[in-house]
Amino acid sequence: MIHKSLLKWFGIFLVATAFNSCKKDKPKEDTNIPPVATGAFNLLFKNTVGDSALVLETSEYKNANGDTFTISTFNYYISNVKLIADDNSVYTESESYHLLSAFNDNTLKIPLKNVPFKKYISISFMIGVDSVKNVTGIQGGDLDPAKGMFWNWNTGYIMAKFEGYSSKSPEVDKTVLYHVGGFSGSNSVLKTVGLDFPTAMTVSETESPKLKVKADVLEWFTSPQNISFSSLYVIHAPGADAKKMADNFADMFSIITN
């Protein structure tokens, strides 16, 4: 008796398992693709003023126009990070939005995860936050408006922010304040940066490359347009001045080896 009912249950179990595994097999596409082996690729940013490391508040610098200044805030967004491999395939970081701030060195390190084992030859990223995230409402993480990089009265992210002091500034308190933003149409300040690696960088089981990228503040104030702090000392909305500044800082990034 016991034997029989056990068998019966075993039978039911078998049938159930069969059905179960049928269900699991459904997404057929997945089954043939071997799992891609992936590793890490570390992106390290270094803020500089010319060739020296950026020091907030205490250090005095000079722009191309000859105006001296100090820096109190230096923040910018990097988004849509991509690595291009020597076989032209592209690694795209998911949810790729990073706020880099001179206040916090940890924000300058971006560990890229799940990077396929390959030989990479270049990197691209956007300076700023792409338009999608500017029009789809409240975001979290580095895109949290409480991070101070968001305009409440004219929706949109401040893509890059420079604040400091210069004796040349006509403001009473000598501030220089550039809040650069604008994501739509002719007001867009979004810039995509592409940097070729001096030598290819391989991600493999044993290799997790480190790429050092410098961000040079001085580039904000020269080429294509020289900036004089006595004539342009405040930007706090999208528009022509913000675009001018973005054209300047578009080339502030370069790869460094030390």
Partner: protein, 352 residues
């Protein structure tokens, strides 16, 4: 015996409490917790712009948003809530305040608009500077003339309050208070403010016992000819920006839509307001310059102040007679939604 007495006394207290509790079910006294919150697109209306994407409407989320809307402690000195400027009996406009009174009794630049059917709006504020309902509350919370707060203080306050932590847990699964969660909750309340039960709506739906009076009919037909191209039904606005020829108040230094678009074409243009509930949302226009509807319509249509970009429909339109204006007002009064302005689900949950 003593124990029995104690029990009896306890029973008395209990039944009394229950009795009072039942009294509080009176429709005039708002229920602290709302259940069964839904959002449905009224018959014949277009699809909304926002339909709680990535922010599914729930009772818990709505109740949290509702409490936040009436929370004075979100302001710097604990004196002002959203509900201070947006009053339900005025369809969530600021009754009797031309320009809203903010913190330290300071005046803002603009009139607090009525709030309803916000899920159909593509932009917010008179100049349309805000592009999404889930980021709108950041503006008043941070504005130095309104609540003069900031999200870090708001988050600190909410995280320190056990009853709020409980509500965040009910809504989001854990107690963490983040900017995103606060704003999603606000959007649950704001988006649920649907006004679609005016006499006009009931007639549109063919409900028994509702019909326009002769005067309302006359007003409706003038409205359709002269107003509906801009104040388009069923929302009674197409939410675009126009300069309608209100003489600029120079002291306010308000360029309207131009502040956002930076185009001189938009100088002194403002987002056209919905005319639903306009009977109760006085004062009128972006700076609240008119207290009464007849004056608002008279200046709006009959006395435009010349500026090069005043809308030609307004500039070249025929004058309306006093009688015509009265008929239009009769029609506009059919857009008053008494169900909405008395709906206790939308009133202050802690009001005593």
């Amino acid at each position: 015996m003593k124990a029995k007495n104690k029990i009896a006394a306890l029973m008395m207290v209990l039944s009394l409490t229950l009795f009072f509790f039942q009294c509080s079910k009176d429709p005039q006294i708002p229920s602290p917790q709302v259940t069964g919150v839904t959002f449905t697109v009224p018959q014949g209306w277009p699809q909304p712009v926002y339909n709680f994407e990535e922010n599914t409407l729930t009772d818990a989320g709505f109740n949290l948003g509702r409490r936040l809307f009436y929370e004075k402690k979100l302001s710097r000195d604990g004196s002002i809530s959203c509900g201070s400027c947006h009053q339900q009996f005025a369809a969530f406009a600021n009754a009797a305040h031309a320009r809203s009174h903010g913190i330290d009794r300071q005046f803002g630049k603009r009139n607090a608009p009525a709030l309803f059917n916000l899920n159909w709006q593509t932009s917010f504020m008179w100049d349309g500077g805000i592009n999404h309902i889930t980021v709108q509350p950041l503006a008043p919370i941070n504005d130095s003339l309104e609540m003069d707060g900031n999200m870090n203080d708001v988050i600190a306050f909410l995280s320190a309050d056990a009853s709020y932590r409980k509500m965040f847990k009910e809504t989001f699964g854990d107690e963490a208070v983040t900017t995103q969660r606060v704003l999603k909750s606000f959007a649950q309340f704001l988006g649920a403010l649907v006004s679609s039960n005016s006499k006009y709506d009931r007639i549109q739906r063919g409900e028994a016992g509702y019909a326009f009076t002769a005067d309302e009919e006359i007003g409706k037909s003038i409205f359709n000819q002269r107003c509906a191209s801009c104040h388009a039904p069923p929302l009674f606005s197409n939410f675009s920006y126009r300069n309608i020829g209100l003489e600029p108040n120079v002291s306010l230094q308000d360029s309207g839509r131009m502040r956002i678009s930076e185009s001189v074409q938009d100088m002194h243009s403002y987002k056209m307001p919905s005319l639903r509930n306009v009977e109760v949302s006085s004062p009128y226009m972006h700076d609240g310059r008119f207290k009464t509807l007849d004056k608002a319509i008279d200046y709006h249509i009959n006395k435009p102040y010349y500026m090069s970009n005043v809308d030609p429909v307004i500039l070249n339109g025929q004058a309306l007679s006093v009688d015509e204006i009265q008929s239009i007002i009769s029609f506009l009064n059919t857009l008053t939604d008494n169900t909405f302005i008395h709906d206790t689900r939308f009133s202050d949950p802690l009001y005593k």
